[in-house]
Amino acid sequence: MAGTAKWEDDLAPLLNPEPPAPARQGGSSLGIDGVAPAEWAGLIVGALRRHEVGLVSYVPDGALAPLIERFQADVAVTCFTSTREDEAIAIAAGAALGGLRSVAMMQSSGFGNVSNALASLTTPYQIPMVLIVTERGILGEFNPVQTPITRVIRPTLDALGIPHATVERLDEVQFLADRIASQAYRTNQVGVLILSPKLTGGKTEPGSASARSTRTAA
């Protein structure tokens, strides 16, 4: 009967729920040889751990979530939020002064809060660290407030003489992470990895990133 069929149709989704979508920020399809979306994060963490990074402070971004999860799961790494991006850099700087290699992470908009920390602390005192900046404001950005600040990042770093590499493809992650970290810690500079949405997926819709783990089987 038509009425019964409709009632069962309505019930069907409850009885057979769709499996949850993979908790990848933004929903863009990377389609890079079918590789699991978070493999880039494992490669970055591995490279930094080989350089003996022991402290990570960050103001989160959805695209940073795979990195945050891995650092927090690593018992050799102290990883925690900071209330502001320049504070994260200062924490990393203090740790570096104390002999512990450190990393600060932030979204591109957060980079707008760090100019003086870079200009007056890490540069004149020659304090090394790696910054990881996830890039919004390009390739599908929906919020115009995100676009201008992203344009400021590279000119600011160039003006301060801070080396940076934009990571776009899985096959360059390990090399760039390793070489940026190596140069930073060996030449007492900041080194910056800018993670493109081409790598991370970025954010193409408003709303919260899923809290589910994006970690995949090794």
Binding site: F80, T83, R84, G98
Partner: protein, 204 residues
């Protein structure tokens, strides 16, 4: 509406240099001391340079997180941050981070003179009722107190150094200028500090 100064009266304002000297005289275990921007650093130098002093010359608001980073890198070493009220106001969030991380070896001293001394003594918000000790307590730094006089300050310092929890000591001080300053050779300041706190390879 007239903004009137509501700075607490009662206890006399204390002398930042005098108390810096007293603090330094209490240090017996090569404690790291971070001098914040401006007169906090200058009076730290004026109290007698120590190899474990770090003079932060330009990053207003960042002395507390720098101290936190040092404390985490060297958990066996006590770390004292000397910060001014104007600078601390710039980054109050750092107090929440300190409370969250809750290192056992970090003490923050706030020299509250109520002014941005270095730029012409313009008043800070603490002249209008902002209470940095209350702010620290509210941020979660439970052991936050105003020092009432010199001996009380010394007592608070000794307790803070021995307590395995972060602490903040507020001191209302006069708006005196500092007579001294470290040299501004930042790279040398870095290496002297790192060597002073035993970081391998830093003794150039």
């Amino acid at each position: 509406m007239t903004i009137t100064e509501t700075r607490a009266t009662g206890a006399a304002l204390l002398d930042r240099l005098e108390l810096t000297k007293r603090l330094v005289s209490l240090l017996r275990n090569e404690e790291a001391v971070v001098g914040g921007i401006g007169n906090s650093s200058f009076d730290l130098f004026g109290a007698g340079h120590r190899p474990q002093n770090f003079y932060m010359l330009g990053s207003m608001g960042l002395a507390v997180p720098i101290g936190l980073g040092i404390a985490l890198a060297q958990p066996e070493r006590q770390v004292v941050v000397l910060e001014g009220d104007g600078s601390l106001l710039m980054n109050l969030g750092a107090l929440s981070t300190v409370a969250m991380v809750s290192p056992s070896n970090l003490t923050i001293v706030v020299w509250d003179n109520g002014v941005y001394k270095m730029t012409g003594a313009q008043p800070t918000a603490t002249q209008y009722g902002s209470d940095l000790v209350a702010a620290a307590r509210a941020a979660g730094v439970e052991h936050s107190l105003w020092a009432r006089h010199e001996e009380h300050f010394e007592d608070l310092v000794l307790r803070a150094l021995r307590r395995p929890a972060p602490a903040l000591i507020g001191v209302r001080v006069t708006p005196a200028a500092s007579d001294s300053h470290p040299d501004f050779d930042t790279v040398r300041l870095k290496y002297r500090f790192m060597a002073g706190i035993g970081v391998a390879g830093a003794d150039r």
